[in-house]
């Protein structure tokens, strides 16, 4: 083992600062949160730093599963995550396909598509509240275009609000997915398209049998980066729906800041961590090697 380290001495030296930083400033706090989630809710006056009580309890996790609130938050999170991921991938892919030509105009217009990525989430929250209110712009446009005859009450909870949050999140992040997929598309050798066209393939067939499979590694990259953040959504649901529609992120925040229950908040955060980790590992197993290393 020793000479192995000696051989890679230089590499380990480079990675050290990164891993040390991450260890101190993220792995330790995460460990603290995990420990907190198993600590009994001792009747301490203030939240003494965790690690003091050493015994171990699953009370908070049981408590979570019996809470209708948490089950609802769990469903909302999964629903929003999958909906926004699906939207982002399909929109991102169509934008990428549209913008992959390198003509001068496209190169000029492409940064415009990157703009939403640059806007802070607090600003996006404000913008979306202009759009999605009962008398907001979206209803007015739909009414003018006769798509709907009476205004949709986006903020009244239920599937409509979930769709609203997914759309808001997807608006800000689709550019990132577009850029990742654009990278994948532009790395495909164009002579493949020529060969396929000569073999008699139509453009849809080419997309299905060549572009898509070769894009799998980029799709994996997009799913992993976005998937993690989609489950972890917090700012948008809080700004747009507050306590009316909870996702695990807002549930953990409110449980801690409003309802003075740090243990349950920590437990819900840990559950979210386990959920994301297993989702990512499951995806990698399903996609397998060909989904990760480009052909």
């Amino acid at each position: 083992m020793l000479e192995h380290i000696k051989k890679h001495r230089y590499k380990i030296l480079c990675i050290a600062p990164l891993l040390i930083f991450l260890l101190i400033f993220t792995f330790l706090p995460i460990a603290q949160v995990i420990i907190l989630s198993f600590q009994p809710a001792a009747k301490t006056d203030s939240v003494t730093p965790p690690g003091s009580g050493d015994n171990f309890t699953l009370a908070h996790y049981q408590d979570l599963f019996f809470q209708k609130d948490f089950r609802q938050a769990f469903f909302n999170t999964v629903f929003i995550a999958f909906l926004s991921l699906a939207l982002e991938l399909s929109l991102g892919l169509s934008f990428a396909l549209l913008l992959c030509k390198n003509s001068k105009i496209i190169r000029f217009l492409r940064p415009l598509f990157i703009l939403p990525l640059a806007i802070p989430t607090t600003v996006v929250g404000v913008m979306m509240s202009y759009l999605f209110t009962a008398s907001g712009w979206l209803n007015r446009i739909f009414l003018n275009l006769r798509i709907i005859d009476s205004p949709i009450y986006w903020m009244s909870g239920g599937v409509k609000s979930l769709l609203m949050i997914a759309l808001a999140d997807c608006w800000k992040v689709t550019p990132l997915v577009m850029l990742i997929l654009l990278a994948g598309i532009q790395s495909i050798d164009t002579s493949l398209y020529k060969a396929a066209r000569i073999d008699g393939a139509g453009s849809f067939y080419i997309f299905k049998r060549i572009t898509l499979p070769l894009l799998l590694p980029s799709i994996t990259a997009a799913v992993i980066i976005r998937g993690i953040d989609a489950f972890r959504i917090f700012a948008l649901p809080l700004i747009l729906m507050g306590q009316n529609l909870k996702v695990i992120g807002t549930f953990a925040y409110l449980e801690y800041s409003e309802f003075n229950n740090p243990y349950v908040s920590a437990a819900s955060a840990v559950l979210l961590l386990i959920m994301i980790l297993s989702a990512v590992l499951f995806y990698i197993k399903v996609v397998g090697k060909k989904g990760i290393v480009p052909a």
Partner: protein
């Protein structure tokens, strides 16, 4: 039968004139090679025939049917690319079967055809592999297999051997010839390697800057180059070309350049008499040099290249002008630095100042 006819083809990409005034007829079943330096428009011509690119002006006919605007998959042609263009994510079997799957042929039929083709190209044990696991030669054969299995009307090869090592190239060349004899379909083969062109092509089309220089069988191309470019491009080592002034001294016709004087015998002179007093180009192959004490031309040997059973001497005849002469072991005395030689008058080529053959 379906001859391929290209009529007054022009092709330009915004400012660059890729093809201009191309008229070409390729008889059905012939092995036609399109030869030219890189960037002369030969690949553009091939893409145009395949339908991957559209001609700016002009028409393309296959037999009686005009196919100018027809999309590639309606032309029933197959093409092999320089970088093979194998689908990296599909196995060799799937790569070859790609065209058949599009035509929705039955699985049994596909299996049979691929068995047959893979046996012919000895790829039987490679069918399950992925392209990146194959060697250059194997990749090349898979690309060819993919073209053959579709049994197209016409084959297009875009410099398929340029990425391979010399020995493999020679081996695959013979396979192409055998392939052509077996399937008797038209093959249009693009290359920049004139040796390959001479070896393969029944008909060779030489192109430069988008213009056809000459269309003729290999031997005629070597023996009767129609212009200076074809003359210098065909044959290795290249033909010696020197500009002389044509003079008449009492009854003798002479080629004069500075202090070098070459007298020509009468049988050669009829066709060049009209150029008396003007400058013309004299071209002669290295094999046309005849050493001997009576040689009119005196020169100094610079070095001798030995490549296999014949070797070539680089001789400087006048200040700054060198020629290459083929030397066989008989002329051992060439080792000395100064030497005399004559040029076999029958093997002389003459070109006017417009580089046209006289």
């Amino acid at each position: 039968m379906a001859d391929l006819r290209l009529v007054n083809i022009n092709k330009n990409f915004d400012k660059v004139q890729a093809l201009s005034g191309v008229n070409l007829t390729i008889k059905q079943g012939s092995f036609c090679v399109i030869l030219g330096p890189s960037g002369c428009g030969k690949s553009t011509l091939l893409n145009l025939i395949a339908g991957l690119e559209e001609a700016s002006q002009g028409k393309v006919y296959l037999g009686e049917k005009e196919i100018t605007g027809l999309p590639p998959h309606k032309r029933n042609m197959a093409m092999v690319f320089q970088n093979y263009a194998l689908y990296p994510h599909l196995s060799v079997f799937e790569n070859i079967a790609f065209g058949l799957r599009i035509k929705k042929e039955k699985e049994k039929q596909i299996k049979e055809k691929i068995e047959q083709v893979s046996k012919a190209l000895n790829l039987e044990d490679k069918l399950g592999r992925l392209p990146r696991e194959l060697s250059g030669g194997e990749k090349q054969r898979v690309a060819t297999g993919r073209a053959i299995v579709r049994d197209p009307e016409l084959f297009l090869f875009d410099e398929p051997l340029s990425n391979l090592d010399a020995r493999l190239r020679v081996e695959l060349r013979s396979q192409f010839i055998k392939l052509h004899q077996r399937i008797k379909k038209t093959i249009i083969y693009v290359t920049h390697d004139q040796l390959e062109a001479m070896a393969l092509g029944e008909i060779i089309v030489v192109i430069k800057n988008g213009r056809i220089q000459q269309i003729s069988p290999a031997q005629e191309l070597y023996a009767v180059p129609q212009n200076l470019f074809v003359a210098s491009f065909i044959g290795s080592p290249p033909m010696n070309i020197i500009k002389f002034t044509l003079k008449k001294k009492d009854t003798k016709i002479q080629l004069i350049k500075e202090n070098l004087v070459i007298e020509l015998t009468n049988d050669v002179t009829q066709k060049i008499l009209s150029y008396l007093g003007q400058d013309i180009y004299l071209g002669f192959r290295p094999s046309a040099v005849r050493f001997g004490p009576a040689g009119q031309i005196k020169g100094k040997v610079i070095f001798i290249e030995n490549i296999g059973e014949d070797s070539y001497a680089h001789i400087e005849i006048i200040e700054g002008t060198e020629i290459i002469a083929k030397v066989n072991d008989k002329d051992a005395r060439v080792g000395k630095n100064s030497v005399n030689f004559n040029i076999d008058n029958q093997a002389m080529h003459f070109f006017d100042l417009q580089e046209k053959r006289i």
